[in-house]
């Protein structure tokens, strides 16, 4: 029981310091995420591609960096939008844009590059357009494969908790 001995060898002060250290790591990661989202005006600045509907541009497991500046969205841009009442956002390309002459708000029709038809079948019944407010982000950066880690972690909670526990232990037990 080497671990227990290591823990016992710590004084209370050292123990608290290590815990604080651990919290720092967690909160730094969290603040980085939130800061990135704040800067880019989007609730999720990084998303993982979950389906093959945008192949060959994006494959499952790729990660996308999003930003949502208020400038008008142009045709052919790849946007991430949410359909009201549905949990999972969709990453597809803008096929049609109409800008209302009175309000200046944009309406879109989207389509996945790998799909035969446009997205009206994915919208709510009777919904013909995606509104500007439904757009969560516009794809600005792309890295392949890395999203695999999050998909594996999300699909196997045991691995997720094992990794988290291991990381926590290592940080708690490491001596400066």
């Amino acid at each position: 029981m080497e671990i227990l001995q290591t823990i016992r060898s710590f004084s209370i002060r050292q123990m608290l310091l290590q815990t604080l250290n651990f919290m720092m790591v967690l909160s730094t990661a969290f603040m980085f995420w939130k800061g990135l989202g704040l800067y880019h005006n989007t609730e999720s600045p990084i998303v993982v591609v979950l389906s093959g509907s945008m192949e060959p541009a994006f494959y499952k497991n790729d990660i996308l960096f999003l930003a949502n500046p208020k400038t008008p969205i142009d045709i052919g841009e790849i946007v991430v939008f949410k359909v009201e009442g549905k949990e999972i956002p969709i990453v597809h390309r803008v096929l049609r844009v109409h800008t209302d002459a009175e309000t200046g708000s944009q309406r879109f029709l989207t389509k996945g590059d790998n799909n035969k038809v446009d997205d009206r079948g994915l919208y709510n019944p009777g919904q013909l357009w995606v509104d500007r407010k439904d757009v969560v982000g516009r794809v600005r950066g792309y890295v392949s494969y890395i999203g695999m880690i999050t998909i594996v972690l999300n699909e196997n909670p045991q691995i997720k908790y094992a990794v988290l526990g291991l990381m926590g232990l290592m940080i708690l037990l490491s001596k400066e």
Binding site: P56, A57, I75, G76, I78, R96, H98, A101, L128, G141
Partner: protein, 186 residues
Amino acid sequence: MYNHLQRLNAVFTFALTVAFTLAFTVAYTSLWIPNSAQADVTLKAIKVRKGASVYDGYDPQARRAHYASLAFDIEADVASLFHWNAKQVFMMIVAEYTTPTNSVNKVVLWDSIIQSPEDAQFHLKKYRNKYLFRDYDEVFGATEANLTVYWDVTPYIGFLNMDRYAKTSQPILFPRHQPGVNSYSL
């Protein structure tokens, strides 16, 4: 002095650092690669008809709306857009016009995914629009439009929407709507 775990950790950290540095370098340097390409689209024919025969299960106006069929020639070579960090080029022909209802309308008529410079040449004659072309309103509220070629480069790694260029906009005329007539052309 160092145990195996520490050595492994050092190797792993170094490998990650190298990989990230390389990725960043590739991503940032490809922003400076100059790119331009040749793409021309010429309208050959345009005809608008009432969509009585159109089946679109999601569009309740489909049978009343007016649809435009176009035929155009495409003469394009976008091979120059393929640099070391270009995975694919997405090329589109877009109709742009203004109506009283909508100040900006952009509708994709035809698109193509190009994955290698060998496939980047187009000499298409009298090609038809790939997607149904109707206005936001039931009847086209415009009498003129622009046909524009757009492209969008997807990198292997890095930034998107940085080198999207609209090139060779060609003005076209829409046939004027004649009430009661089911099909009209220029």
